[in-house]
Every structure is written in C-alpha cells, then in structure tokens.
Symmetry: C2
Subunit: 412 residues, 2 copies
C-alpha cells in the first residue's frame, strides 16, 4: 500500500492574476470545526455573508450570495438561469474570458451574437450600445476585467443603455471585485459574478453573485422544485404552456435563492469551511474599506509599472484601459518565457503567469491582487525578475527597477 | 458601517447524515498557505488525490477526480456529460435522492422512466433487471445509500445485468463512500459519485467521481473545447452531423479530464484549500484501512441500534436493507420532533436530522459517519436523547439505552 506523506506546501509569493495568496486570518477561519447547514449559528453566518456581499457589490439587491463552485460556476449559474433556449444574447469579446461567456451561452441554447475586439483593447461603449440597438438582444453578457489581456471595460454607459432598452446586462467581475470599483447599482448592472481567489484573496471555491429584481423576474418565471421536497402545488409543471424550466438543477438560481432565504428550502449542502473563508475574507475587505483597498491596489500598480519600465521592459496593451490589478509584459524577443517563469518559481518562490491563445508565449502577466498586492511583494518581484532576466542574457537596466518602484512609493 | 464579530462557531456533536464532524487533521490541512494551480507541487497533490480516490472507489479506472462543488455537482456533471437529450434513462427511486436523479436527468433532456418503491424499502435487483430488459434504456441511474430513508440498495446484480445489456449504470454513492463498501469494478458500476461531507468526513465542497472507459467513450463523443484555449482543430464543431455537445461547460467531464490529465488544459481554477482537505481526508481513510473503517461503522451502528431499542424507541424502515451509517427512528406519537431536535442542539450541542417529503415530522435520522462515528458520540447521544425525551414526557426505559450500547461494545 502506498504511504502518502504529510501535506507540506512550500511558501510562495503568488503574483499571478489568481489564485493569489490568502490572508492568514482567512486560512485560520477554515480550520474551525464545522457546523451543520441548518444550525442557527450557521444560517447566521450565511446571512452575514449575504450582507457583506451587498456592501462589496455596492448594491441594494436582496440577492447576493455565493454559488458553490469556482468562479465559472457563478457565471454558468447566472447564464443558465437567465437564458432560455433561443434567446438572443449579445457578447462583446476582448479576450479569453469573453469566449468563455460565448461558450456557456451557446451551451445554454442561446442565439449568440458576438462583437470582437483586438486583444489588448476594450470597446468604446458606443460600439456596444449601437450593437444593442441594432441586434435587440434579450441579454448582454460581458467581462469587466479581462485577465487574459489585462484590460478593463468601462461599463456605466453600457449599463444605462441596457436599462433604457430593457435588456438584461450580465457582468463577469471575477477579476475586479474587491480590487477595482464595481458599482452594481450605479452602473445599472442586472447580474454580476465575482471571484473569490483574486482581489478578495479567499481560496478558489465559491463564486459570489448578485442580481436585481429585473433578473429575478426572469428566473422565477422558470422555477421548478424537485419532487421529494415540494411544499406547494406551484412547483413548476414542465407541461405548462410556454414554460421553460432552468436546464440545470445545481445552478438553478430560483432554488438557490430559496435556500439562501429564510425559507431555507434544502438544495445542496452548503460548503461550510469555504463559507467561513468567505465571511472572514469579506470582513477583512470591509474593515480595510473598499476605497482604501482600491487605492492600495493603485499604489502597488504604479510602483510595479514604474519598476518594470525603468528596467527597460515594455508593457503589453492599450495603456488607457489597463486593468489596475494585472500588468502584462511583452516577453523580450528570443526569450523563453516559460524558462523565466520556472526560474522565478524554483529559485525565488515567485509565481507569475503566462497567457492564453494568441498571447501564449508572448506576454507575462503579473497580478497584484488582494493580500498578494503588497509593497514587499512588488519589490521582491522586481529584484528577482531582474536577476532572472540577467541570467537569461536579457539586456536590462540593472538596479533601476527596484529604485524606480521605491521612488514611486516615496512620491505618494 | 456594520462591524462584524470574529468567527467563533460553537463546538458541536454532529450526528446527522451529513455534513458531519471533520477530522482536526483535515481542518489543519485547509489552513496551509495556498499554491498556484499549475505549480508543480500543486499538480502533484492533484495526482495524489486521484490515486487515493482510485483506492477508495476500489477501481482501476484512469478517471477518478473531484468535481468542484457539493455532492450534487458531481451527480449533475456525470449525468449532463453522459445523457444526450432524448436518451432513455431508467431511474429506480426509493427515496428523496432518487427524485433528485430524476430531476437532473429530466433537465438534461432525458426521456426518464421511473420505478418507484415505497419509502423505507429498496428494490429486489430482479425488479430493476426486468425493467432494464423491458425498457432498454441507454442509462440507469440509482442511489446506493438513500439517506432520506436510511436504506441501502444492493447493486452487484444490477451492475452485471447492465453490463450484459450494454447499459451504462450511474450510481450515487454520496452517502456510502468511505463508510460502507462501494466496489466500483467488482460491481460493474460505470460511473460513481461520492460525497465528501459524509463518511469521508471532509467539509462539503467537492464531489469525487470515477468512471470507466465505457462512460468515457460516450463523453468524448460529445467533447467541445472553448475558443480562446483550443490547441487543435478537433475542438468539437457544433455543426457536425449528429454532434450533441455537453450542455454545461462547468460540468463537462471531457474538459475536466483534460484538466486532471498531464495535459492540464485550463478549465476552472482548482479549489486549493478544498483539495488539501480532500487529500488529507483520503490519506486518513486509507491509513485507517477501508475494511477497518467499515467495521468501525458497523460497530457504532450496532451499539446505537441496541441503545435506541433498549430505550423503547422503534426504528423506521425495513431492517434487512438498513443503511449502516444512518439510523432512522419513528418519532413517538404526539411528540414534536423539532422541539426534541432543538433541545438536543441547545442544551447538549448535539445535532440530529429530520427528513423530507412524506417523512417530514415522522422520523428522526441519526448519522454515524466518518469522524462523527465514534463510541463517545454514540454514548453521548443516547444519554442526551433519553434526557430530552423524558423532558418531553415520552415514556422511555430510563438508563437502559446507554447500558445496552455499552453491552454491545463489550460483546465485540
């Protein structure tokens, strides 16, 4: 019989666009003994988490709770609950995660219309708004912070246009929530999906979502409760004329909201330890304060960008729409990007990321998110990257990167 | 601004059919700092978990890995990946979780045929086998251990009949894995779903699954890789004749197995801390030894049943198919079952369960699963239940329950 060794993960400085380092207080929260899912102490923790999520999403929505899965589980839950087969869905795409929205929407049976933007740029809101007027979709789905390219899409004008045209707007804010403003109500976003393992610095495993009454109306039209726990005759008879039940049980938001409501209608068994982590992580975010947290992310970004530029590296993408929490670097000509990443990890314990599809092998991506987004980490990375690039015979301005970052910190 | 208090869950003795108490070593594993998902140390942990799952499922299957969600996420992943819309699916139902299989299969677009058994009983395998011959379904899905009624379904003959008739057999072993034998290969089960939060005593949040080459062939026929990470031209063109892509992205086992394979094709961001918990929990299960673990569950069941009977309580359901890890008690006439449960929790810190649907208010359910399945807990419960029943003016044989359980322990 194989004898397995004790778990003993090495310490890492994680500067990818997620997952990132987790606050030790959140790690500790997961080590507490569990409670039963209907224990009043546990349902109180569920309610705390909902209230905290409303604050983080800056919304008055009743519904703000986690879907139990990784970030894309939240995206799929929102899309499969809102999209009826045959619905027309407009998806403006400016990177890999836009394609993910397309993929999921297609699997939901949507008639998908895409707008594509060259990677490294984002849409002028007017481009999207005129497509909305032209295509008259039921729903628009788009990414807020696109980690594959390190860009951020302005959403406020698009949100208001969707509201005026009575179109539902679904936003993937997985990469931005907790690091960059996401003003759900002010921007008129109907349903928003956040991620835990990025700027919230909670381990991957839950996907916080919020949606308003406009979205809820569509969801409730499709409600169906499974036999064995039905409490009323109005459970959603599939033979009803025009009734299009949600195609997933696990991702059925009409049932999930009953589970998260005082009704507590049994659905899944809530992930106890992950919910402890979520509550503690959100508590830490709110104790820091959202505005202070956004400012901290901006400060580290400024120092990192100053350091990389002073080193002589060139940044990828349109600077006017740079995502503050992800910084992309063009891999210098002739350099094996994976070899640089491997040496950073093996010798310095630092992880940075590569990218996907057309950008594979072309750029490195550095995340400065949540607990990982610290002066110590930025300075550590700049020194380490310089050393590794020198070992790879890349001409860099030796010593300049760290000094430029220190200057940037001094100037604020 | 609301100030939230520190997380501080009360200690509980959890004797429900899940979630149950978690081994402190598993809780500690979740408190380790995280690794990036493509860090070689992390992918080694993924591989360890797969190898351990093969042992726990007693299978030589290549594929044994967790789906990232609660138990029903694993069920839905298997069903949505295996069922093409229009497929005929036979579901023998003997409790609430059979209805869940029906519900999910219907949402997958299956033509579902059900067999229903009075709650409290299970099927004679011949009943299922003759239905298989009559209905000629593509797939049979059924529950192994039905926690809603506390019954266990013998599967070996059904498994062999499915193999002979070239029908895929999917089994929900959420409640049994790690507590009762689940012999995947010996019983000819094609796809099996386990749960973490029951006999494995890991927090809810992952659903271990395994499936064989028969199941894999059907899954791969439906494979489609999303744009943005496609590496080959053979990504699954939906316009291909007769091609029926899997309707879910999150639950698409063809993509999940690529992520869990050496290919490591990016899908979701693996749940780091939950995977630490899974690896540690499985390590503990294998260190105890499966047979020793099953025997421990049987010992506690025998003592509990002896104690409850000596107290004068009557057990619910057909004794010949009692699920060893769940013991159901008829709530005595005129007793408010919820009041008893509340007093057990408030005064003694013990949680037991009620049930669903037709059994709501009729039975209590006591789980003896995993780390919760201990002599200490059984004795603690018997004393506490006696005290609470006396306070509720239920005539019980005072003092007899605990003594009978001690006798049962002495006799082995």
């Amino acid at each position: 019989m194989t004898v397995y060794s004790e778990l003993s993960p090495s310490p890492r400085t994680i500067l990818t666009p997620g997952p990132v380092e987790v606050d030790p207080r959140v790690l500790r929260a997961m080590s507490y003994p569990i409670l039963g899912q209907f224990d009043p102490e546990f349902t109180a923790i569920m309610n705390d988490a909902m209230a905290m999520l409303r604050s983080v999403f800056r919304t008055g929505n009743e519904w703000a709770y986690p879907v139990d899965g990784t970030s894309r589980s939240g995206i799929e839950a929102v899309l499969v609950s809102l999209i009826e087969p045959g619905d027309k869905v407009l998806i403006p795409i400016f990177g890999r995660f836009g394609y993910l929205l397309q993929e999921i929407a297609e699997r939901c049976g949507a008639e998908v219309v895409v707008l594509e933007k060259t990677w490294g740029q984002v849409f002028d809101p007017e481009e999207v708004i005129s497509a909305i007027r032209r295509e008259k979709p039921e729903l628009v789905a788009m990414v807020h912070g696109e980690t594959s390219t390190g860009r951020i899409q302005p959403l406020k004008d698009i949100g208001h246009a969707c509201r005026e045209n009575d179109v539902l707007l679904v936003v993937d804010a997985v990469a931005t929530i907790g690091g960059v403003p996401v003003d759900v109500d002010d921007w008129c976003l109907d349903a928003v999906i956040g991620g835990t393992q990025k700027c919230l610095s909670i381990p991957s495993g839950m996907s916080p979502i919020t949606y308003n009454e406009r979205a809820e109306r569509k969801i409730l039209k499709r409600k169906r409760v499974e036999k064995g726990i039905r409490q009323t005759a109005d459970y959603g008879d599939p033979s009803k004329e025009g009734f299009s039940p949600i195609r997933s049980n696990y991702f059925d938001l009409s049932q999930l909201q009953d589970y998260w409501s005082p009704l507590r209608l049994n659905h899944h068994t809530e992930m106890t330890s992950m919910l402890y982590a979520l509550r503690e992580g959100l508590r830490i975010v709110l104790a820091e304060g959202l505005d202070a947290r956004f400012a901290r992310h901006r400060r580290q970004e400024a120092a990192l960008v100053a350091g990389l530029s002073a080193m002589g590296l060139s940044l990828y993408g349109d600077a006017s729409c740079k995502l503050p929490v992800v910084t992309c670097i063009d891999i210098p000509e002739g350099v094996d990007g994976e070899s640089v990443r491997a040496m950073l990890l093996d010798s310095f314990g630092i992880e940075i990321a590569s990218s996907f599809g057309p950008l594979k092998g072309k750029i490195w991506r550095i995340g400065t998110m949540g607990y990982s987004c610290s002066r110590k980490n930025v300075l550590h990375l700049l020194g380490a990257l310089e050393a590794v690039l020198v070992r790879h015979r890349v001409p860099v301005n030796v010593g300049a990167g760290t000094q430029a970052a220190l200057d940037a910190y001094d100037s604020v």
